[in-house]
Amino acid sequence: FMSTKRAQEEGCVNVVFPGTVTQEGCCRFVSEILKCILYQRQQLPMTYDQLVYSQRKRQASMQVMSRRPVQSADMDWRKCQQTLQELEEVLQQLEVLFSLSRVPRVLLLMGGSLVLPKELYEINMEGLVLAGGDHCLRVSSCLRQLFRTLFVADLLSDSRPVHLMPTTVLVQAHRDCGIGWFRPKLQFKVPTRVKNQIIALSTDSNTCKELRAKGSDWQDYVWFQAPMTIKGFRN
């Protein structure tokens, strides 16, 4: 186990799973990490699930009430609605992408520009060994391990207030996977001028003797960019 201080300095958290995982599992990891980072980095006022819940409750109560809600609350509600829609769309498209291609790396760029973002997070899954359903670890137990490690490492917390900034999702996928929604960015290079916080997921090589991917296997994997950014909001 890496000590908290070291993880923060090096900006890297290693999560080693004691067995193989499924492709759908990988998709869940990415979705949950994305939601978690948006909340932890103060782009969402509550966790994603809380927001969805309160939004549904609000919608139901609004149908009962005939009176229009007050203006400012209305604006807040619409901002929240918009963020949730954006995030939902990205999550759905991630699912599509994961069904078409293996995804070795995912980047979350927050603020600034593509070349010089304010914050940069990488989910690296190159070291994961994938397999079919039966022999794999359960997604829920993997998620528990993942978030326990993340919180112990304390990678995401910052006592200083963070500003709202757009979040761009970039994914690495096979060049011929045929995904339409994400736009290829063949020239893209991971920004080096900003600290890259890496969450590296891998499969323990002792427990799993199956063939793992070599570096050369990723040759035909190129970067794709989500065509929209997720704009956070505040209450």
Partner: protein, 415 residues
């Protein structure tokens, strides 16, 4: 460069579709095959339709660009093939203060979709555009070869000056776009930073100098990436440097002098880096600080367009209107070059082109911005039907030019 490489160089720009994931080497191979089928072409040429599947699927256009108006034989030329995709994201802002929504500069990734086609739309005296391009390519080449700039004086500061509405700012954007495509084998990124000079004057007294420093720190971060070529545009520099003079005259607070001084020092700092080009524009040359004019090596006067220029501007406008079927049916119009080749002979086919030439002649003295507006005014004021024939539209344009000239005369008399 290889020794003995004396063949004329031909630039071919290959615009790859934004959804394409093809390998550059594959695209290149297919483009070479395409060029091989066409032994001889005449001047600039652009392919937008292809028989071949790979090109059809991945390539928007293949264009031979910035060539002289003479036959080109591909076999006897060395080909530079520049393959690029456009960045469709809009500009992002470089903000200085974290707690303030103060954006000091707009920032584009090049080649940008927003800048596409500007280069072609700008029409100047022969050679102005290519000369500028050659100037900058040479400075980039010199800095690549580490030529000592104390021995041979050269730098990468460009000043474009001339009357308003002649497309100086657009030319800066187009130049940056062009260069990022041309130099794509050398730099994998192009970046374009447009500084809002007015935002550098802080509302807080004595803070302005600091803002300039902060902004250049951001730009420095971009420059530090040696894979990127960075273009910095400072529009209307006279507004900055005039401040310094006003300051000396006592009409402006002394804070302004610090802004200008710190800007000049910072420019000196960043221009040392070989991957920076500083582009500046000015509507007046006399008012600019001498200290600044001196720093610019490449000074280019951009005047109002000549008759030929006006003709070509109108031609591109009419082509666009025919493409959108506002002018219908489509009719043939010749380029000035083609008209010249025919000796301006009157015939049925050249009739419209010659009328347009007359209108162009009459429009002399209008700014480029006014010229590009003219077809719109013609339609709004004198056409009034959704579609129109070319004959009627030319009559409307003639009226619009008369109106513009009258208005211009009124303005001058008013002063």
């Amino acid at each position: 460069m290889e020794v003995g490489n004396q063949k004329p160089n031909i630039n071919v720009e290959v615009h790859v579709k934004s959804h394409s994931t093809a390998k550059l080497s594959d695209v290149r191979m297919h483009v070479l095959a395409l060029l091989n089928c066409h032994r001889l072409i005449f001047g600039n040429y652009k392919w937008t339709e292809f028989d071949e599947d790979v090109l059809k699927k991945h390539v928007e256009s293949v264009a031979v660009v910035d060539a002289e108006n003479e036959p080109i034989d591909f076999q006897s030329c060395s080909l530079s093939i520049h393959i690029f995709t456009l960045n469709e994201d809009g500009p992002s802002t470089l903000s200085l203060e974290d707690d303030e929504e103060l954006s000091a500069a707009n920032h584009w990734l090049l080649p940008a979709a927003e800048f596409h086609g500007i280069w072609e739309s700008l029409v100047y005296e022969s050679g102005v555009k290519t000369q500028l391009l050659d100037y900058i390519t040479t400075t980039m080449y010199f800095s690549d070869k580490n030529v000592n700039s104390n021995l041979i004086s050269w730098n990468r500061v460009v000043l474009l000056h001339g009357p308003p509405g002649t497309g100086k700012t657009s030319l800066c954007k187009a130049l940056a776009q062009k260069l990022s495509i041309r130099l794509s084998s050398r730099y994998s990124y192009g970046q374009f930073v447009e500084i809002n000079s007015h935002s550098l004057f802080s509302k807080w007294f004595s803070e302005s100098g600091k803002l300039v420093t902060k902004m250049f720190q951001k730009i420095q971060q971009l420059i530090d990436d040696k894979d990127a070529i960075v273009f910095v545009l400072i529009d209307e520099v006279e507004s900055l440097t005039a401040a310094r003079n006003a300051c000396q005259a006592g009409t402006e607070p002394s804070d302004a002098i610090r802004v200008v001084n710190s800007l000049l020092t910072q420019l000196d700092q960043i221009k040392r880096h070989s991957n920076v080009v500083i582009l500046t524009t000015s509507n007046v040359t006399e008012k600019i600080d001498l200290a600044f004019v001196d720093r610019a090596d490449i000074k280019q006067y951009i005047g109002p367009p000549s008759e030929e220029g006006i003709y070509n501007i109108y031609l591109s406008c009419l082509e666009e209107l025919m493409k959108c079927q506002i002018i219908y049916p489509r009719q043939q119009l010749f380029t000035m070059f083609e008209l010249e080749m025919m000796g301006f002979a009157e015939s049925e086919v050249s009739e419209h082109s010659l009328i347009l030439r007359g209108i162009a002649r009459k429009s002399h003295g209008l700014s480029g911005r006014a010229l590009r507006k003219l077809p719109f005014l013609a339609h709004a004021l004198f056409v009034k039907t959704p579609t129109v024939t070319l004959e009627r539209f030319l009559v409307a344009m003639d009226h619009a030019v008369n109106k513009q000239r009258a208005e211009k005369a009124d303005l001058v008399n008013g002063v």
